[in-house]
Structure formats: structure tokens, C-alpha cells
């Protein structure tokens, strides 16, 4: 057994900062380099964990004492056809790189996450969804083909039609089968760099569902920001943002609005404060009283006739990557970091379950500081988190003191989710128990998982802290 060079050891955190472990990090820049890392793993009898930008909140891209294969340096765009909107890229290309590369030709990524820093490889690993999931499906539905290197070193090409089993399991397969080496996707044609945005406020959770029902058919994107601190008749009051594409010809100067410089997020908030310092301002508010104030402020401002005007235009980047407005905002959560709890509930019981969850949090004295609400539709990917229904993502501050209580609260909420046929999402998870994993995926999927693992990774080299926590 060969010894790994100790200077490759790095402490790696989940994006939320609440979980971490040490791994031996390698960042190859080429496919040949990937192969060498697989050989090194075999020689040193180590497991491998794939990692993109590490934007998963929990332990999905951590591997204690593993070789951590970070693909962020494999970030070349391999080909781009501005006529068809078909792009081929290496897995380490970030969403930021991607949209900035294509937008001036009048294209936009069909599915993006709330932050632009994830890699495309990592997004396929989790099969991410956007605020348009109810319409566009997950990112995997826009992939035309990919190349994947299996732990044996063999490279396979998969499309929805050939090697389709590999296609539908590697996408959503949380890095368990092989590393994407090249990804070909269809981009979405846009006729302006702007979106029509509309905003509504709702008095409570029930109104939120009503607004959704009313506006989903006419929306390209729809997202709800839920205040989880108010209770009783105000429980779940929210702000809903809708965004719709411009029709061809509607924007008289598309070349202007499509310029990258006209997309970028402003560097100051309210024109005066450098945005990299905003988290410091937020820090005093990341306690229960403070967040109550912030949530109130958010609703208040959105009701002001001028600032919070209900109809306006916004660039794609501004609308999609709101969370990147406040770089380092998670630092405002302090030392213990944060976790996000996102569950996906079938539409029949979603309102009841989310109400129950918010009540449970409040009763436990652990109100989430932010709730994000989305509508979803089912998809064909093997480890999908999606349902014909809704999701609510809850952000919790973690401290040394509340940790135990918080994990117990999540466990109790899991029971509610499972009793209502709900699902979970590995990109956000830090607290699921093996029994939750088993229950939501179901017997058949688990059998399939074991079978595919045997086929593509028979030595079980590919492991993460998440897989070791859940796949027992």
C-alpha cells in the first residue's frame, strides 16, 4: 500500500459549513490526469469522491480520508454552435462561465440553480432544478449526451437512447458511477437579456398556494420567498416572483440587453455599500428576533409603491442568481454554519405538510430564517428528488448548542414527509438517516442502485460521506 503525500490533505466543508472532513485533494486538468488519479486510488487502496464547486450544502461532495477528485480545473468549452444552441463542455465549466459564454448569441442555460457558481458536472450529479422546474424539468432533460469515465478507466458515451440506463442513473446519481468528462447540452433561445418580472405578496401559506395555482400556467419562472417566523393566521406569508421571457421583437435592442456587462449583478446594494460586506450587516440579524425584523422588512419594502413595484424588468442573471447578490451571506450565520432542509411533497398534501413543518420548527424554537418555495414535476431520472407537487427549502442556523435539537427536528420532519409520499434532495441534505433514504427511494430503486453499482463500480471505489451515511 502506498502512502499518499500529506501535502494533498485539505479540510473540506459542505457549502453550509456545518459538516466537514479531511481528504487528499487532486485537481487534474485533463482526462489523462483523471485516469492517473483512479490508478493512484487503486495503488493506495483509497476511495474516490468527486467534487465540483462544492456548492452542495451538506456532505455530498465530501469524502473523509478519500481521494477527493476535484474537476473544477477541467473547465474548457469544447464546442459551441450559436445557430443550434448546442454546446459541449468539460465538467468543471461553471454556470457562470456558461451563461457568460452564450448570452451574447441570444441563448441562456435552460435550467440554473439559485447560485451561478456550481459546475455543470456537479449539476448533473444532482440533476438540479431551477425556478422553472414545473415547466422545463431538471437539467438532465436538456442533456443530449455525455462522456463518463468509469472507475475502470473506460469512457462510455450515453444519450437518452443509447446507454440510456447509464444516462438516467449517472445524471442524478450523486457521483456514484463515474466522472463526467464531457457534456453536450441544448441551450434555450432568448430574445432579450431581460425578463418581465411580477411580484405578489401573500398573507399566508394558503394564499401562496392560490397564487401558484392561478399563475403557474402563465409563468416561465415562479418562486416564493416564505417568511417562516410569523405564525397563526400569518403563517407562511410570502413574496412570489414570476418571470417571463420576452417574445421575439419585443426588445428593440436585444444586443444591448444581452451584453454580459448589462447582465452582471450590481457591485453595490442600494448603490452605496460594497456587496462583499453585506454579510457583516446581516450578522446582527441572524437570531430569531433579527430575522423576524428582516422578514417584516422584506414584505414591507415589497409593498412600497416605488421600491417594490409589482411589475418590472430584470436581467436574467439578476433574477436567477439573487443569492449571489450577497456574497458570503452564509458567513452571517456564524461559526456553526447552516443547513438547508428541502422536502418535495405531492401536491395533494403539500400545503398541510409545509404548514406542519413550519409549526414544528416554531414549536421547537428553531424557526428557519428563510423558506424558498417552488413547484415541480416528476422526471424519469433514477434518483430523482422531484415530485408532482411542491418543495419548501428551509435554512437553519447551526450552533454547537442547537445541533442535537436541530437534527432531531429534521428527523421528525422526515417522518412527516415520508408519511405523505415526499422526497429528499442529496444536494441539500446533511441530516437524513439510512431509513429515510431507503423509504423515499423505495425497494425497487435500491435494488437497481445495487445492480448498477456492481456493473459500473464493482470495487465500490466511489464513495462520499453522504453515501457512507445513507447507503448501508
Amino acid at each position: 500500500m502506498s502512502v499518499l503525500p500529506i501535502d494533498h490533505l485539505e479540510k473540506i466543508e459542505g457549502w453550509g459549513g456545518a459538516v466537514s472532513s479531511f481528504g487528499y485533494v487532486y485537481r487534474p486538468a485533463t482526462v489523462e490526469g483523471l485516469r492517473e488519479v483512479f490508478e493512484l486510488a487503486r495503488r493506495s487502496n483509497r476511495n474516490i469522491t468527486f467534487r465540483g464547486s462544492g456548492r452542495s450544502y451538506g456532505d455530498a461532495a465530501l469524502g473523509a480520508e478519500n481521494i477527493v477528485l476535484d474537476t473544477s480545473r477541467m473547465n474548457r468549452i469544447l464546442s459551441w454552435d450559436p445557430n443550434s444552441g448546442i454546446i459541449t463542455m468539460e465538467p468543471g465549466v461553471t454556470i457562470e462561465q456558461l451563461w457568460q459564454y452564450i448570452i451574447e448569441d441570444g441563448w441562456w442555460p435552460p435550467v440554473v440553480s439559485g447560485t451561478m457558481y456550481p459546475t455543470v458536472g456537479g449539476c448533473l450529479g444532482m440533476n438540479i432544478h431551477g425556478k422553472n422546474n414545473f415547466k422545463a424539468g431538471p437539467i438532465g432533460e436538456h442533456v443530449l449526451s455525455f462522456d463518463i469515465m468509469l472507475p475502470s478507466g473506460e469512457i462510455k458515451t450515453a444519450t437518452p437512447d443509447s446507454e440510456s440506463e447509464l444516462f438516467y442513473s449517472a445524471i442524478s446519481g450523486f457521483g456514484m458511477f463515474g466522472v463526467f468528462t464531457s457534456i453536450t447540452m441544448q441551450m434555450k433561445k432568448v430574445y432579450s437579456g431581460l425578463l418581465h418580472v411580477k411580484a405578489w405578496t401573500t398573507k399566508n401559506l394558503h394564499e401562496l398556494f392560490e397564487i401558484y395555482q392561478q399563475h403557474i400556467p402563465g409563468s416561465d419562472y415562479l418562486v416564493g420567498w416564505v417568511d417562516c417566523i410569523s405564525s397563526d393566521e400569518k403563517l407562511g406569508r410570502s413574496i412570489v416572483h414570476q418571470a417571463n421571457y420576452f417574445k421575439p421583437g419585443e426588445d428593440q435592442n436585444p444586443a444591448q440587453s444581452l451584453r454580459v456587462s448589462n447582465q452582471s449583478l450590481p457591485n453595490t446594494i442600494l448603490g452605496i455599500f460594497p456587496k462583499s460586506f453585506v454579510w457583516m450587516l446581516l450578522r446582527p440579524f441572524t437570531n430569531n428576533a433579527g430575522m423576524k425584523f428582516i422578514n417584516w422588512l422584506r414584505v414591507f419594502v415589497s409593498r412600497l409603491p416605488v421600491v417594490g413595484k409589482p411589475v418590472y424588468e430584470q436581467s436574467h442573471a439578476e433574477f436567477a442568481f439573487l443569492l449571489d447578490y450577497v456574497p458570503g451571506w452564509k458567513k452571517s450565520y456564524g461559526q456553526g454554519g447552516l443547513i438547508q432542509y428541502q422536502s418535495f411533497i405531492p401536491k395533494e398534501s403539500a400545503e398541510k405538510v409545509f404548514r406542519k413543518q413550519i409549526e414544528m420548527c416554531q414549536e421547537a424554537g428553531l424557526p428557519p430564517y428563510l423558506g424558498v418555495f417552488k413547484q415541480h414535476k416528476p422526471d424519469k431520472f433514477l434518483f430523482t428528488h422531484s415530485v408532482d407537487g411542491f418543495s419548501l427549502a428551509l435554512d437553519f442556523k447551526v450552533t454547537e448548542k442547537n445541533r442535537e435539537k436541530l437534527w432531531s427536528l429534521c428527523a421528525k420532519m422526515n417522518d412527516v414527509v415520508l408519511a405523505n409520499g415526499g422526497r429528499f434532495y442529496f444536494a441539500k441534505d446533511a441530516t437524513l438517516r439510512p431509513q429515510d433514504f431507503k423509504a423515499f427511494l423505495g425497494e425497487e430503486t435500491l435494488k437497481k442502485f445495487a445492480e448498477l453499482k456492481k456493473r459500473y463500480d464493482p470495487e465500490n471505489i466511489l464513495q462520499t460521506d453522504l453515501s457512507r451515511r445513507l447507503v448501508l
Binding site: 500500500m1 502506498s2 502512502v3 499518499l4 500529506i6 501535502d7 490533505l9 479540510k11 466543508e13 459549513g17 456545518a18 459538516v19 466537514s20 472532513s21 479531511f22 483509497r46 473523509a64 480520508e65 461559526q335 456553526g336 454554519g337 454547537e400 445541533r403 442535537e404 437534527w407 432531531s408 428527523a411 441530516t431 438517516r433 451515511r469
Partner: protein
């Protein structure tokens, strides 16, 4: 991030103080890699540690701690780098390394025995270099971690009794002090433990039974000191006074003392 230790290695875990240290860590739910030559003794200690730590602590959402024996003679120095990595891999991390292995073969009053002296230095000192150099490199790169060395009050002055043993402990204490000065800037703690007389197999042959202390009490104090990152800890603390007196005695008096 929780600052609690989760993973430790105890070298010299098959009996005496080392065994008690494993149980003390088990109480706190720390996983331990147990290292020594006698495999059957290691198995026994690991088994008992598992019962102490409880059947499973999944109620507090942590996986049950592991206690894994590794048979190894500390004088097989070349095995150490790979073994330390292997143990760390099996534990899933490393926060604490305790070097406890030591021997004190009986030496007659007028005996000069190179073979015995050499073996003492090999186990008590060179073994410590082999293990703690590796631990130091790991912790320096990780920018955290705690190293504990079990030295002895025997290293305070060169008394008549056991020249090589005392030398080995004096050297170990100096080595640990150097490590501490190297590593403190990297956030790594190095703790020197100087036990007095502890009621173990080793102390059986010792004529001196002053303030005889149980290995359990000793282990409790050692882990407490390590947690606080104390630099030098006498166990029990009373030995600090003795040490002070010993150091103050001029040589012409010291050489007349009969212990």
C-alpha cells in the same frame, strides 16, 4: 464545526495507562485505533471499550464509535507512515495521537547492559519519533490536532536507578517541547504528561510506591489536560513540587541521595 474529538490513536493500548486512556476516550464517544504488539490484549481492550461507549449512539445522530486493534511493534519504524494512514482511513479522520508505549526492564544496581539500554531507547524514544513525526506532519497540514506524549517524572534528573530509562524520558520531554514550539503556530497542541507512580504492570517491580495512583485516575487527568491543551502535566499534580525541589538541588547533594 464541532470541536469535539472524534478520532484518536493510542500507541501502547494493550494494558496499563494506555488501556485506561482508551476507556476514557470511549466514555466520550471517541473512535480509537489501538496499537501494540499483543493482539489478544488489544482485542480484549477494544471489546470492553465498545461496551463502555454504549451499543450505539445513533440517538445523537452520530455513527457508533469504532475501536480497531492494530498489531505493531513500535521498533518496526518503517511500517509507521503507512500504518498511521491506514488507521486514519479506517477511523475516518484523526484529531488526537497519544504515544504511550514504553518499557522499563529491571536493571540491577551495578548492571551496565547495552542491549537493555538500546531496547529502552528504541521503544521509548525512537518509536515516539517514528509516530509523532508522522502525526506532526499530518496535523501541521491539517492545521489542527493534539499530540500527547507519555513521558515520566523519571526524566527530571539523572538519578542512580535506571540511567537509560531516565535518559529516554528526558529526551522524550525535550522532543515534545520542540514539537510544541514548531507546531503551535499551526494550531496544533502538544501535551507532555509526566506521571509519578501508576499502579500498572510496569510499576510492579519499582521499589518506589510514593503516591501510588490508579491508571483510571491517571487517564482521566491526562485526557482532561489534553483537552485543555496544557503544555506539561504532572500526574498527580503533587509531583510538580517534587520536580521543583529535584531541579533546585545542587549536584553535590543530589548524588548523595539514595533513590
Amino acid at each position: 464545526m464541532s470541536k469535539k474529538w472524534k478520532h484518536a490513536i493510542v500507541i501502547g493500548a494493550s494494558g496499563g495507562i494506555g488501556e485506561a486512556l482508551v476507556y476514557e476516550l470511549a466514555k466520550e464517544g471517541v473512535s480509537v485505533g489501538l496499537v501494540a504488539r499483543r493482539g489478544s490484549e488489544l482485542e480484549r481492550v477494544a471489546l470492553k471499550a465498545r461496551t463502555i461507549s454504549g451499543p450505539s449512539t445513533t440517538h445523537n445522530h452520530q455513527p457508533a464509535p469504532k475501536f480497531i486493534p492494530f498489531i505493531h511493534d513500535v521498533t518496526n519504524y518503517s511500517e509507521v507512515p503507512a500504518l498511521l494512514q491506514e488507521i486514519t482511513k479506517q477511523l475516518g479522520g484523526l484529531d488526537l495521537v497519544i504515544y504511550n508505549s514504553g518499557i522499563m526492564p529491571p536493571i540491577a544496581k551495578d548492571e551496565y547492559n547495552f542491549a537493555k539500554d538500546k531496547s529502552i531507547i528504541e521503544v521509548n524514544l525512537l518509536g515516539a519519533f517514528a509516530w509523532l513525526n508522522e502525526a506532526a506532519m499530518r496535523f501541521q497540514n491539517a492545521e489542527c490536532g493534539t499530540i500527547v506524549g507519555i513521558s515520566s517524572i523519571a526524566g527530571e534528573r539523572g538519578r542512580r536507578g535506571m540511567p537509560a530509562y531516565m535518559t529516554s524520558k528526558a529526551a522524550l520531554s525535550t522532543y515534545l517541547e520542540s514539537l510544541r514550539n514548531r507546531l503551535s503556530q499551526h494550531g496544533v497542541k502538544v501535551v507532555t504528561i509526566k506521571p509519578g507512580v501508576i499502579d500498572t504492570a510496569m510499576a510492579k517491580d519499582s521499589p518506589n510506591k510514593l503516591w501510588l495512583y490508579s491508571p483510571e485516575d491517571a487517564a482521566h487527568e491526562i485526557i482532561g489536560a489534553a483537552r485543555r491543551g496544557v503544555t506539561v502535566k504532572y500526574v498527580p499534580w503533587k509531583w510538580r513540587m517534587i520536580s521543583f525541589i529535584l531541579h533546585s538541588l545542587p549536584s553535590f547533594i543530589f548524588r548523595r541521595l539514595s533513590f
